[in-house]
């Protein structure tokens, strides 16, 4: 018996993606967010999650797909990675899957609309294929670099002669 992990599967442009369920904090219906200036286009804005300010990214835009109108099934999945929370907007949530670690296959370097950088593997359930997302990389790595740059800039300001 090998290790099992549970994944929440979400729909995105007729494909099915899995997010490690331990990283999922909550699922909420789509509500409008407050836009943040000077953000990458896929960062829709921030929302108020019980007093915390949480950025929300559109997974379609993140993966370079076109954005569709938000409808009744559009949801925001709140994810916690490394102590930071952010929301991802997906077309719909569908299922929870048990995936054994030996059922995980590497991603071939083609055939998907999503950059393989953000995937950590794929698995098949019956005749469905599920792509497993690497949640750590969704808001990174560009953003982490930008953050570092901002912090460096801030620290020169603080230095008192």
């Amino acid at each position: 018996m090998s290790d099992q992990a549970q994944y929440l599967t979400v729909n995105l442009a007729h494909e099915e993606y899995g997010i490690d369920i331990l990283a999922v904090r909550e699922i909420r219906g789509w509500t409008p967010v407050t836009r943040i200036p000077q953000s990458p286009h896929y960062v829709l804005g921030v929302l108020n999650l019980r007093g915390a300010i949480v950025p929300v990214i559109d997974l379609r835009l993140r993966f370079g797909l076109t954005r569709e109108e938000y409808n009744a099934t559009t949801v925001t999945v709140i994810i916690t990675v490394a102590g930071r929370q952010f929301g991802v907007v997906v077309d719909a949530v569908s299922d929870v899957l048990d995936v054994a670690s030996d059922a995980l296959r590497p991603v071939p370097d083609m055939g998907t609309t999503v950059d393989t950088e953000y995937l950590k593997g794929l698995t098949s359930v019956g005749d469905r294929m599920v792509l497993l997302l690497d949640a750590d990389k969704l808001l990174q790595p560009q953003d982490a670099q930008m953050l570092d740059a901002a912090l460096n800039a801030a620290s020169d300001v603080k230095a008192v002669a």
Binding site: V33, T34, P37, L147, V160
Partner: protein
């Protein structure tokens, strides 16, 4: 030994010891100005508890150093030697060194370094050399001995008194090499064993040049609770192997435990606040009130009858009142007296004035004024800078002061007080004041002004806050100030405050720092920009004006200027800056909010002002990152998020754009 790790108490120990060191330093400085015996006692007590604590918590290096300091202090306390400058200097260095050790202990680094070893030796020498003849006679013979045999038999009830024999052994180990032999003859059979009593005794051979007094000090607190004999070690045997089971095992165990938890402790070091009990009691009372109000309002949920509308209104009013007081009380928890920042100044002033050969009297006023913890932590550096400047450049040398008919001793005054919704900190000296001519000359040379003839004193004072003034070319010969003043102002402005300067030639200079009471809640105006809503902090708003199209001048390069009170100010169109769609484009349709920071004014063009509100500041960086021109976010009454405009940041962006 129980398995409870003592490392969990480290944090409290560090905090208390650092407070003890602060107290020691303050008392030493007071002593320097001629204090009484009570001060010596308080210094001794502080040193003693640090020594006891550090031995208990497994920091032998620290215990050894404090032990030496304590021996020296003991001589002073008993009147065997008079306190003098050299002792005070040595003690102050010990305080510094111990602070460094605590720093390293918190990071899990080795405590001792060359400095501490060196200092320990100096302390020992100071304590040893100056034992007067009378006391010397008793101590001389044993001191020559190379060691001691100590018979230590705790009474059965010693543990109940809170004394740990192991700690004593460890303290002894700090004095020299130990050979410890446990005496098990009094240990009862298992069925008669009372684990809360002490049945063991020890025969301890202590090798090393240790005075009998030093050993007695170790046992000072348990004298009445044990049988103790101390005899000189007669046979000068070669030093035996350093560690022996009785001590080695538990000590090593504790050390390992301390090692692991220390790492854990440093990882979750989120900082802590000490809160006065009455503040907490007040909070509990308020929460009680709130629960009662809630219960009262809950009645209406069952059945609502329009005739009870008045009661409902009354209940809601009560709820609003309690919420407000609860908010104030919770904010109060973050408030700490500014004294904790002021405390570092007596030492700084003393050291600096000695170095520069000036005489300075420091007056601290309003140490109990309370400030938000965050503000408090960040105001320290700017204050240090201003104080250093005041002593270095402001106050004159004694001869010069005498020549000017002033008291040779210059006065430096730090005062904190409330004014309206702000805290004001004033740093004033009675020195020479700003050197107007030199500053004007410098400003002319830098091209900051065109002519210095008709400048008011205030305008001259403003000049030193210009970034151009903080260059190495401004040396201390120029008796005006200005080294890094722009950084001071920027630090204060980042906290939402401001710095002003007032100077009278020959009479002195006063810096006035105005700070907001808290950073957590600000008053702001809601401004609408193309369907979006931004909060502009009220403190930075000067005025809002509706401009006629002909009042705006375009400049080549795309900039816009408008005339406000006789000066041209740049306009920042918020919708361009933040990329808002559907905003009003025509300058006559919107409003220009004149805002000020860093002494610079700009106009922010927005669609309209929607209203005023208190905003609870939330961090954008916690989950996202810093955004230029935005200082944070807040939550509006409808639960949506609004961003707070960073006025100082926008002005900086604007001037950078101009420079580019």
């Amino acid at each position: 030994m129980s398995n409870i790790s003592i490392a969990q108490f480290h944090k409290v120990f560090f905090e208390e010891s650092l407070e003890g060191l602060d107290a020691m330093e303050a008392a030493l400085l007071a002593l320097d100005e001629g204090g009484d015996a009570e001060l010596v006692h308080s210094i001794f007590r502080a040193a003693h508890s640090i020594k006891g604590g550090s031995a208990t918590f497994g920091f032998p290096d620290m215990a050894a150093l404090t032990h030496e300091a304590e021996s020296l202090l003991d001589q002073v306390r008993d009147g065997r030697r008079a306190i003098d400058k050299s002792i005070i200097e040595l003690m102050l260095r010990t305080v510094d060194c111990l602070r460094g050790m605590f720093d390293r202990a918190q990071n899990g680094q080795p405590l001792a370094d060359a400095d501490s070893e060196n200092l320990k030796q100096q302390l020992a020498v100071a304590a040893g050399n100056n034992v007067p003849a009378a006391a010397n006679k008793a101590a001389a013979k044993p001191a020559a001995s190379s060691g001691w045999i100590i018979q230590f038999r705790p009474h059965a009830g010693m543990l109940a008194g809170g004394n740990d024999p192991l700690r004593l052994l460890r303290e002894l180990a700090a004095l020299g090499q130990l050979v410890v032999e446990a005496q098990l003859d009094r240990v009862p059979t298992l069925d008669a064993l009372d684990p809360s009593e002490c049945h063991l005794g020890w025969r301890i051979e202590l090798t090393g040049a240790v005075s009998q007094d030093a050993i007695k000090t170790v046992f000072e607190w348990v004298e009445d609770e044990c049988d103790l004999t101390i005899e000189p070690l007669v046979a000068v045997a070669p030093p035996p192997a350093p560690a022996v089971e009785a001590v080695a095992t538990p000590a090593a165990g504790a050390g390992a435990a301390a090692g692991t938890t220390r790492a854990a402790a440093s990882s979750n070091d989120a900082g802590s606040v000490r809160v006065a009990i009455d503040k907490i009691d007040g909070l509990i009372d308020l929460v009680g009130e709130l629960v009662i109000t809630q219960a009262m309002l809950d009645q209406f949920r069952e059945e609502f009858d329009p005739s009870r509308l008045a009661m409902l209104q009354h209940g809601l009013a009560q709820l609003a009142r309690h919420t407000r007081s609860l908010q104030e009380s919770v904010m109060g928890i973050r408030m700490l007296p500014i004294g904790s920042v002021f405390n570092r100044f007596p030492r700084l002033v003393r050291d600096l004035s000695q170095k520069l050969g000036k005489q300075v009297k420091l007056d601290l006023v309003g140490e109990h004024t309370e400030l938000d913890k965050t503000v408090l932590e960040k105001i320290g550096d700017p204050l240090v800078h201003l104080v250093r400047n005041a002593i270095d450049h402001g106050l004159e040398m004694p001869e010069k002061r005498r020549a000017a008919g002033k008291n040779e001793v210059g006065t430096l005054r730090l005062e904190a007080f409330h004014r309206g919704g702000s805290i004001v900190v004033e740093i004033s000296d009675d020195g020479a004041g700003l050197n107007r001519d030199a500053i004007i000359a410098k400003a002319l040379q830098k091209g900051l002004i065109k002519s210095g003839d008709d400048l008011s004193d205030e305008a001259v004072g403003e000049l030193i806050f210009q970034p151009g003034f903080s260059t190495a070319a401004v040396t201390t010969d120029l008796s005006g100030r200005g080294v890094g003043m722009d950084v001071v102002r920027r630090n204060v402005v980042d906290l939402g405050g401001n710095v002003a300067i007032k100077s009278r030639a020959g009479q002195g200079t006063t810096f006035t720092i105005t700070l907001p009471l808290t950073l957590a809640i600000i008053d702001g105006l809601r401004a609408a920009v193309g369907g979006e809503c931004y909060i502009v902090p009220l403190v930075s708003i000067v005025e809002s004006v509706q401009l006629r199209a002909d009042a705006v001048r375009s400049v080549t390069g795309g900039g816009e200027l408008f005339r406000f009170r006789g000066e041209y100010r740049p306009i920042v169109r918020l919708h361009q800056q933040f990329g808002c769609a559907n905003a009003r484009q025509n300058i006559e349709d919107g409003l220009v909010i004149v805002v000020e920071a860093d002494g610079t004014q700009i106009g922010l063009f927005v669609d309209e002002l929607v209203g005023q509100q208190q905003a609870v500041v939330k961090s954008l960086e916690a989950n996202y990152r810093r955004v230029d021109g935005i200082s944070g976010a807040t939550i509006l009454a409808d639960g949506s998020v609004a961003l707070i405009v960073d006025v100082a940041g926008l002005i900086r962006l604007q001037s950078r754009r101009k420079a580019a």
